[in-house]
């Protein structure tokens, strides 16, 4: 039957509000009697808090002042573990760590007050790099500075080297990256022992915040409510951090008895909140004379900052993606996430994979060169096929044709002709051109048994007047959740999208659908929505009120009759983990993800050797993603992700000084403008995934994996520079060019 909603570029559900200025983000809201809050933070990277001093000149009696002592429950931001305090009590472990909270009606006076709080700290020696942390000269976390360590084993690596004709080694690094959502973090809270705690704010995961507040206040679950306001971008930066700022706003509200609003300005947001984990990857690869992968030994380290937060999970994804979409019989991956005295690093679109994929794809170009093969030929000889196993032992059971994606991408980008032409033209002139690619995969959903553990739920309900409601904890933050849930439900029910309303994520109203992360919203939660909608349709059909060939009017009548007779019409669906997906967390083996998206990205660059400035001239993104539910939204995800990847590759350099980001202004932390991003040419292949709604898989994070290595390979092609690190700033490239020419 022809699809009426799926595959159509249905306009964004909340689009009208967004183009008229009517959308309400947290800073647009005011509550009666609302006051403002600010956070006073540590300037030291590590030390003992000796005292907190309130200087003269501020009418302190007008202020609400909160410290760790005021926390009713446990002083922690509950996440995987509870090591991170909500407010530092006796010690600080990173610059910008929150120590004191202040609230007052006058937000300008509040700023003056912030400057007048002096936190006296006796400094302790701090750790700032991966090397320092691993050396354990200072143990700043746990027994050994290690949040998590993993090991993947496939085949018999140690014996495999003997058969290798070529062995290539390399070390690769990626820096921190700031999510830079254009709407800074913000929360409004109302809290009292009588009423419990309610927060409204910019966030991705209402139930994460809920869990954290329950723990912070020691309240029963029903007394805590979390509401997501229109969110101006998240990209992972609002996955775990909102639990911290929500806790802060709620503590001030609890103590002051008034609603409290905390909005970070850009400088505070950049300096104090999470960033992408910096990484160091070491590869040692053995190949046969024909260039077939024989042995891959990978050592992967992530810098997690001062507290654990989500580092074990970032490590997990980075580790599983480290060996790529290739068939290699012998693999060992040893990985670890370590502690340093920087603000904790956290979720950012890609979540460990952009780091390990950068290393792999750069490395494989070098392996190709060592073997004397073109980079694309090396990939062709090693692409994984159906029936073969990934490094963690997952047998590929879906249809995959990486060669087809590669051919399409090379054709769209005129790769071969350009490779040839540039080699000739680069001999003359100051502008060197290059073209390079990356081939990669990205698993959708939580790793291994993660989805089973999340046990997500979603509900579809019909009102008396025949309007369909979708209730899910998944959030809209620009990626299109509202729109595609509407399309999925409408398709299942045979209605138009206008008949479907998506309820605002409010933990007092919607079930826990798990976090809006991990490229899972369409594939996992969308499937729950589809299932629930189909169940509603079946209830109506089974009741006899709804006959075949119905239209919207008949649906409305049937719903009304059903509800009059049975009281309510709806279906709550809980996630059922497919029995044939098995994961062993101890051995780190098995079916890591239910489905993968597969991709090849090609970047064309030009480098002006006089200034080492790099320009992206053309970008082609080819991917197989299952069924595309909404073409405009899906392309928008890829285009936006590629732009972030361009920033990751070339511009976004966090400048650190003793654990603090010192370039925390938009003037000095450089993200691409419209003049820095080329036309991005997107092509989708669709092989429907039977477990996804209408066949969809996940795509949100995919573009972050392949963009930077494609660009790095292109720059290497253009200049001969052996790129090992991103961001590739002109300063670094200039140095490399001078040594290439020397």
């Amino acid at each position: 039957m022809e699809e009426r909603q799926i595959g159509k570029s249905v306009p964004r559900k909340e689009g009208r509000e967004k183009v008229t200025g009517g959308a309400r983000y947290v800073d647009d809201l005011t509550f009666p009697e609302m006051i403002h809050g600010v956070t006073v933070r540590s300037s030291a990277a590590r030390g003992r808090i000796l005292g907190i001093h309130f200087e003269e000149g501020i009418p302190w009696d007008e202020f609400t002042i909160v410290t760790a002592k005021d926390i009713p429950g446990k002083n922690c931001v509950a996440l995987l573990i509870e090591d991170q305090p909500c407010l530092a009590d006796e010690a600080v472990n990173h610059p910008e760590e929150a120590v004191v909270l202040l609230a007052h009606p006058d937000k300008y006076l509040l700023e003056e007050a912030r400057k007048a709080v002096r936190i006296e700290i006796e400094p302790l020696p701090a750790v700032f790099t991966i090397e320092e942390s691993l050396s354990r000269k200072q143990v700043i976390w746990g027994e050994d500075n290690i949040f998590k360590a993993l090991q993947v084993e496939k085949g018999d690596l140690d014996s495999a080297w003997d058969g290798a004709a070529f062995i290539v080694e390399g070390e690769y690094e990626t820096g921190a990256q700031e999510q830079l959502y254009i709407e800074p973090q913000g929360m409004i809270a109302r809290a009292s022992p009588a009423e419990g705690v309610t927060v409204w704010g910019s966030l991705q995961c209402p139930y994460y915040v809920h869990k954290a507040l329950v723990r912070l206040f020691g309240l029963p679950k029903e007394r805590v409510r979390v509401v997501q306001t229109e969110t101006g971008g998240g990209f992972g930066g609002k996955e775990e951090y909102p639990s911290m700022i929500a806790g802060h706003a709620a503590l001030l509200a609890w103590k002051s008895g008034k609603p409290v609003k905390i909005i970070y300005d850009r400088a505070e947001d950049m300096a104090a909140t999470t960033k992408r984990h910096p990484s160091r990857t070491r590869h040692r690869t053995g190949v046969t004379p024909e260039g077939k992968l024989l042995a891959m030994e990978i050592d992967f380290t992530l810098d997690g900052g001062a507290y654990e937060t989500l580092s074990p999970v970032v490590l997990s994804r980075g580790t599983i993606h480290a060996a790529g979409p290739y068939q290699c019989p012998n693999v060992r991956i040893r990985s670890r996430a370590i502690a340093t005295n920087a603000p904790p690093h956290g979720a950012f679109r890609g979540f460990g994979a952009p780091q390990s994929v950068f290393a792999l794809e750069r490395h494989l170009d070098r392996v190709a060169s060592a073997v004397g093969l073109a980079p694309e030929e090396l990939r062709r000889r090693n692409f994984i096929r159906e029936g073969q196993t990934l490094s963690v032992g997952q047998v590929i059971r879906e249809r995959v044709d990486m060669n087809k994606l590669l051919e399409r991408a090379l054709e769209m980008s005129a790769y071969h002709a350009k490779r040839k032409r540039f080699a000739e033209e680069n001999a003359r002139g100051a502008i060197k051109r290059g073209i390079g690619f990356a081939s990669f995969l990205h698993g959708a959903g939580f790793t291994g048994s993660g989805e089973e553990y999340l046990a997500s739920e979603a509900m579809v309900r019909v009102t008396r007047d025949g309007m369909v409601e979708v209730l899910a904890g998944s959030t809209e933050m620009g990626q299109g959740t509202n729109t595609i849930f509407g399309q999925i439900a409408a398709e299942a029910l045979g209605l138009e999208c206008e008949r479907v309303e998506i309820l605002q994520p409010d933990t007092s109203l919607v079930p826990n659908s798990g976090p809006t992360v991990a490229s899972r919203t369409a594939m996992i939660v969308g499937k729950l929505v589809e299932t629930a909608a189909l169940a509603v349709k079946k209830s109506l059909a089974d009741s006899g009120f709804l006959k075949a060939g119905y239209g919207a009017k008949e649906f409305g009548n049937a719903s009304r009759q059903y509800i009059e007779q049975f009281g309510a019409l709806g279906s709550l669906v809980k996630y059922q983990h497919p029995k044939d997906l098995r994961w062993d967390d101890g051995k780190y083996q098995g079916d890591a993800y239910g489905a993968y998206a597969w991709a090849v990205y090609v970047a064309e660059v030009s480098v002006d050797v006089r200034t080492a400035e790099i320009r992206i001239e053309d970008f082609v993104a080819v991917q197989e993603v299952g069924k595309v539910i909404n073409p405009v939204l899906a392309a928008g995800q890829i285009e936006g992700g590629v732009a972030q990847g361009i920033g990751f590759a070339l511009y976004e350099d966090v400048v650190w000084q003793e654990g603090r980001m010192v370039n925390g202004q938009m003037t000095n932390y450089i993200m691409p403008t419209s003049m820095d991003v080329p036309v991005i040419r997107v092509h989708f292949e669709e092989i429907p995934y039977e477990r996804g709604p209408a066949g969809a898989k996940g795509i949100g994070e995919l573009p972050l994996d392949g963009t930077a290595p494609a660009i790095a390979n292109a720059i290497s092609h253009a200049t001969g520079a052996d790129i090992r690190q991103i961001p590739i700033t002109p300063e670094k490239l200039m140095e490399m060019l001078e040594s290439v020419n020397a």
């Binding site: 100051a430 450089i670 419209s674 300063e731």
Partner: protein, 287 residues
Amino acid sequence: MRSYLAGYEMEVPRDLAGTLERLAREPGVWKAFAGGTDLMVLLEAGKLPHRRFLSIWKLRELRGIEVTPRHVTLGALTTYSDVRNQEVLEREFPLLCRAAAETGSIATQNRGTIGGNIANASPAADSPPALLVYDTELELVSVHGTRWLPYQGFWKGYKQIDLRGDELIRGIRVAREKSEWMQFYRKVGTRRAQAISKVCFAGAARLEAGRIADVRIALGSVAPTGLRATETEKLLQGEKPAPAVVRAAQETLAREIAPINDMRSTAQYRLRVAQNLLAEFCERMAA
């Protein structure tokens, strides 16, 4: 927003005379405030040392672009957008127009002024190299009258200018004598738009039979102030821009400039780029 608003005053004098009178009566107390594109950023960061401002934005006497046979005079409140839209400037002063186009965004260009840029005296500013190449003169005005100064020399040091406490920049004047010169401007920034400069190069040369008869070279972001590379100019004078000459000029340039490491770039990069832009300038002369 990190400043205590209740502590900042702004008055809007009706005319230039009233403004100058105020400045004379209370020298050093009031600061002139034009489009605010620099000062408001400081205010928001909680780093604005001044407290009392005179808004000069609407003063007609400081606006307008006047063209005479020998000169173009721009009022201090000429915005970058005004510069970009002026025909004579477009034709005869391309370096200044390029600088204006490279400054910030359209929104910044609508509010940023030449006078404000000169008063702010940032070594990374985009216009000063162009102004230095054009041998710009400044008109300063106070209750005591006006005085004209060459722009070169007015800029005394990092963020320091030779402006007295009761003075305002009234305008700038550039001579139309270089309209036939070969002109070259290149800014190397952190990205392709809305970028702070890492190195900025402005050059103009008059060529006669392949020889450099006269030349001006000025750079930004490689010294505490915008810099006229006078030693490099002297070396190039009278020469043909041949490779050996260019190399010698690059060496001289390295001695004249003082680039630093900062959060945006490195001294080594700035030096190399400055030298390469000099070479590019010379290549264009030869073409």
